[in-house]
Amino acid sequence: MKNSEHDLSEPLIHSAPRTRVDFPPTENISHGLQKYSKNGVDPKLLSSIVQVRQGVLRVRTTTPKNTEPRGCRVVAQNLTRHFGDHVALDGLNLTIEPGQTLGLLGANGAGKTTFIRLVTGYLMPSAGEVQIDAYSPTKNAKEVHAKIGYAAETSQLYADLRVRSFLRFAGAIRSIPRAKLETRIDAILQQFQLEDVQKRLIGHLSKGYKQRVTLAQAFLHNPELLIVDEPTSGLDPVQQEEVCNLLRTSQGERTVILCTHNLNEARMLSDRIAVLHRGRLVAEGTPESVLQHESASGLFRGQTLLGAHPSVDNAAPRENA
């Protein structure tokens, strides 16, 4: 599907409108919830109590997600990248299914950013290939770039532009139709809580806000493949939580490649985890299976019980894990 055909009016979070249930202030919340469920709403659909104020319980209900997975399929086959004599990525084979969130773990220099740059087409592979829905990032750059939203590790922002101007530029060069652009920017500013700073110069923003702007531009065109490189790097714990919450909204909505050092972040946000060490894939599987088998320090040193085959889904747990 071409980017211009995306339905940009659809919400970023699958949620029904907030529902009001009025109950006397003397009644407790559980009573309010019982009353709410009597109105014909399945209590299992209640995802969170959003607000209880002045005797009004506002509840957000979760719409059952479309069972058809969204996003694109990413396949790396024997992907290799050299920088002179240095081998940054060595024969990587990896498949990311549509709608899946892949946590890409590894120490500094493991090859995570190189892999991401090969997926985005910013670098050309020395050998092997990567395909995104059967498109090559180097041969079909336009088709691939229309599918990708990329938030890089270092904030790729123009310090001399204002937040709204930057988002307008980012949207326009991603072929968001002119008629929808301003509406879309308003929605994304609200989604990422950037409304208050939309007229400020990006160079004057705090690191947390810059990270939000970086993520906002990546979400702007509702991409099928979202790539985020170290999204919480250098942020304080509160800001890290905010960024994680923003990424959580994306789960199941699109394919996500999350590149991180943070094991907790990877565990919470990923459907699968792949661990790279010196350019090679040393472990791959569900977060539970990978993190159950490998100690954190072992993962980053590239130790694995798996020998030649990196998949850990069916491997036996490590005794002293």
């Binding site: 985005t120 910013y122 336009k142 890089a152 790729q156 001399d160 532009l161 980012a170 326009a172 060069i173």
Partner: protein, 264 residues
Amino acid sequence: MSFHRLHHLVRKELLVLFGSPVAYLTLALISLITSLLFFDLLRDYNQVLFLYTSNTMRGFELGTIPAYINIRDQVFVPLMSQLGGALIAIIPLITMRVFAEEKTQGTQEFLLTTELSDTEIVLGKFVATFLFAALLVGVSFVYPAAAIVRSGLGVGHLFAVYIGLLMLTFGLAAIGLACSALASNQLVAAVSAYAVAFTFYDFSWANAFVNEWTGALLGAISLLPHFTSFASGLISFADIAFFASVTVLSMAIARLSLDLVRIR
């Protein structure tokens, strides 16, 4: 090629340019340099004229003022030559950041992973820089225009000189942009642009050391001789084609530099 995307890229480039003090500083600097050069030449011209018209020489009465003592030859022509030199000093300050700053800020990766094609990126940056260069020439052209009008050279001559100055500026900007595209940072971009622009500005000094054929070749690839004909009021297709070739060559180098990023 999408004109919508191109329009927004040009707009972004101009916003970034005018978001920094460099744009205002260069506009102020070129105004200052042009006015100083103009009034200095005008003062010299007035002094010479004063000598010829003094009681001793009585130039007007006797008709002994040489033909070359006129505002065109004494003020306008040297001003154009000196303005060309001033542009060599000013233009690299504008062009140095255009590509190199994207590399140092990391925004190049952002641009190269959007739907913008490499050609659109290069074209957008060249168009934005040329628009600013046209503004720069407009600002610097106020005094020369006054000299042309006062000397009675006519609107046609004025137009030819303005086109020539614009072509020279575009040529210098194209050289600066190619250097910025190849350089890893703004300082290297500026220094290399100065070196290339000074080298190719005028090769006439080399005529004493080379044979006739080589001298003609060096003259053909120099910027100044192609500008001089505009200054004398001639709009030559060959000179326009020369500056267009410099621009196209520089764009090709800039486009190639983006490919080099991917295979580095």
